[in-house]
């Protein structure tokens, strides 16, 4: 299915001339004809949606950079100028700001889909690892971008996150000064963050190319999780175009409706009011919270009482994703045939959402208001601190204990021999006549 034969035949003279010099039309035609498993469901449309998100962010970002001024004296005002005076600037900025959130909604669903259907298992480990690299770069890019408007949340978010690097033993302090370009977050920091925020999306684009290259080499996974042998390619696959371009297109329309809902009706719902106050290095907002998509990791950071330990746990929470292909011991890819693992997966999704919820709360606040509890080590048991710790423990246990252990112990359901077998017993019948 991966190394399919090229079916492109240049027709006109100019196509033939071009094909023997730069076979770019052949590349596009082969890409569109890629044999794609015919049982893909809508969870598989997020790849296309993510590509669209990246393009939207790059296009709106380039336009915003034409009006934005990366200087501590002028950054906040230049963003407000974009909102008020630049033609259509409000729309472009709201699309860019909410686009980041949409990007993360899509990427989280895309990753959970990969986790559920075992898309990381051999021979697709590299696709998964490249995806993790993209995810990490997305977090970095989103963080850098959030600093640029130079509001209170921008400034203090940058302060808190760069301070994480200061937690590294021995080299932390010089590294922190190097990163910030001075003893504190200041103009030098804003300038370099702008430069890197402009650069990283193109790095992401490069890794996306590798991600797709690896995908087209090892072939797409599918909800049944079975490999499609070469001799079944004709029966079990369909060309990418028009079958899956149309399916992706329909999903994109639904996604854009959600996108538009945020941009036009609640453009600031996912942001923080404090970021409309210009940055003040002498006053910290009463309640610093990162953007929603970072909250689970922020919660993990706060769950650990030790500063460097918290930093390690937070990066570890992302780092563990890279080794999932080797943590999962099951021979069955799709959790459709792994009833035990499916339960743990559902709990994992709830835990992830729970961590996000905890990340937005004050650690000392009570989970159940008014319920009496007792002091356990360094905090009340009935506090977000201990709930976060419980959820953090499950997050890591899911990957490091449950995944290897269940894979060895469970009895999976019978896996179909092919993609079409569960639908049509014995596969697709040959056409008659």
């Amino acid at each position: 299915m991966s190394d399919h034969e090229s079916t492109y035949v240049p027709k006109t003279g100019i196509e033939k001339w071009l094909d023997s010099r730069l076979p770019i039309i052949r590349f596009g035609a082969d890409y569109m004809a890629l044999p794609t498993p015919r049982n893909l469901n809508y969870w598989y449309t997020f790849g296309g949606i993510l590509m669209l998100c990246l393009v939207i962010q790059i296009v709106t970002g380039i336009v915003l950079a034409m009006h934005y001024v990366p200087n501590t004296e002028m950054a906040f005002a230049s963003v407000e100028r974009i909102m008020r005076d630049v033609n259509g600037g409000w729309l472009i900025r709201y699309v860019h700001a909410n686009g980041a959130s949409m990007f993360f909604i899509a990427v989280y669903l895309h990753m959970l889909r990969g986790l559920y259907y075992g898309s990381y298992k051999a021979p697709r480990e590299i696709i998964w690892i490249l995806g993790c690299v993209i995810f990490f770069l997305m977090i970095a890019t989103a963080f850098l971008g959030y600093v640029l408007p130079w509001g209170q949340m921008s400034f203090w978010g940058a302060e808190v996150i760069t301070n994480l690097i200061g937690a590294v033993p021995v080299v932390g302090e010089p590294l922190l000064i190097w990163l910030r370009g001075g003893p504190a977050i200041d103009n030098a920091t804003l300038n370099r963050f702008f430069s890197l925020h402009y650069l990283l999306p193109f790095v992401i684009f490069g890794v996306v190319v590798l991600h797709l290259w690896a995908l087209h080499t090892s072939g797409q996974n599918n909800p049944a999780g079975v490999l499609i042998p070469k001799e079944r390619t004709a029966k079990d696959t369909l060309p990418f175009h028009p079958y899956f371009t149309v399916k992706d297109g329909f999903a994109i329309i639904l996604f854009l409706i959600l996108f538009a809902l945020f941009v036009f009706y609640m453009p600031n719902a996912l942001g923080h009011a404090d970021n409309y106050i210009p940055a003040n290095p002498l006053v910290t907002p009463a309640h610093i919270v990162p953007e929603w998509y970072m909250l689970p990791f922020y919660a993990i950071l706060r769950a650990i009482p030790d500063k460097f330990g918290g930093v390690l746990a937070m990066f570890g929470a992302i780092g563990v994703l890279f080794v999932i292909p080797w943590l999962d011991t099951s021979r069955v890819r799709s959790m459709r045939y792994r009833p035990t693992m499916k339960v743990f997966f559902v709990i994992f999704v709830i835990v992830g959402l729970g961590l996000g919820w905890c990340g937005a709360q004050l650690p000392d606040a009570q989970v159940v208001p008014g319920m009496p509890s007792f002091m356990l080590l360094d905090g009340q048991l009935n506090s977000y601190l201990w709930l976060t710790r419980l959820l953090t423990a499950y997050y890591f246990a899911f990957f490091l204990i449950i995944m290897p252990w269940v894979g060895l112990k469970e009895t999976p359901l019978p896996v179909p021999a092919s993609v079409s077998e569960p639908v049509l017993d014995g596969g697709i019948p040959e056409k008659k006549g």
């Binding site: 203090w156 302060e159 808190v160 760069t162 301070n163 994480l164 200061g166 000064i177 190097w178 990163l179 370009g181 001075g182 003893p183 504190a184 977050i185 200041d186 030098a188 370099r192 290095p281 002498l282 006053v283 910290t284 907002p285 009463a286 309640h287 610093i288 706060r302 009482p305 030790d306 500063k307 918290g310 004050l362 650690p363 000392d364």
Partner: protein, 196 residues
């Protein structure tokens, strides 16, 4: 590149039988040749040049000369009323100058060496000026500015992650790893300090 047998090399290079050479000029034995030397020397020079080119690209991110030039400020202590603090900006960071009340001083002195690392109040102030505390106002956890006169120890409370400092700026409770840092400073007169 695989090594060729000496017979093949002789035929191709048309050299006398006593000198064993491969077609790429390497000696037939393990002896280093002039070509090996050139390879290593050229490689080392390329790496050296690469590092020398990379260093300015890395080092440009360190604080620039004008940033470093803003490293000292002077402050007039008569601006602080007893029981209050003034927040000044030094090197982009807030500095707390706090004029402690006799009651606060008595509480702190009675506690002896506490915090992390354990320090007495005398370790953190200048002799003869114990009523004034000068500390960098960034929480040693993740750099938020702690709020004045709150928390469980009558000093500061960091709203970000719940660190409690006492009126000597020592960490007493919460995730912060260290006491609030005391910057380098000196009294230029009885009522003026130079920070930095």
């Amino acid at each position: 590149m695989g090594r060729h047998g000496s017979i093949g090399a002789h035929e191709r290079c048309d050299v006398t039988e006593s000198v064993e050479l491969n077609h790429d000029g390497h000696g037939g034995g393990d002896d280093a040749t002039r070509r090996d030397f050139i390879h290593i020397a050229a490689g080392a020079a390329a790496v050296g040049a690469g590092v020398m080119m990379a260093w300015p690209l890395v080092n440009q991110m360190n604080p620039a000369a004008d940033t470093l030039a803003l490293s000292t400020i002077e402050f007039d202590l008569t601006k602080v009323a007893e029981g209050m603090q003034v927040v000044i900006k030094w090197q982009g960071k807030p500095v707390f100058v706090r004029y402690r009340t006799p009651a606060e001083l008595a509480t702190i002195k009675a506690e002896g060496a506490v915090g992390s690392p354990p320090e007495t109040d005398a370790d953190r102030t200048k002799a003869g000026h114990e009523q004034f505390l000068v500390v960098i106002g960034s929480c040693t956890h993740l750099g938020c500015v702690p709020t004045f006169n709150s928390g469980d120890y009558g000093g500061w409370f960091c709203p970000c992650h719940g660190s409690h400092y006492d009126a000597s700026g020592r960490i007493r409770k919460g995730p912060a790893p260290r006491n609030l840092d005391v910057p380098t400073y000196e009294y230029v007169s009885d009522t003026r300090v130079r920070i930095g």
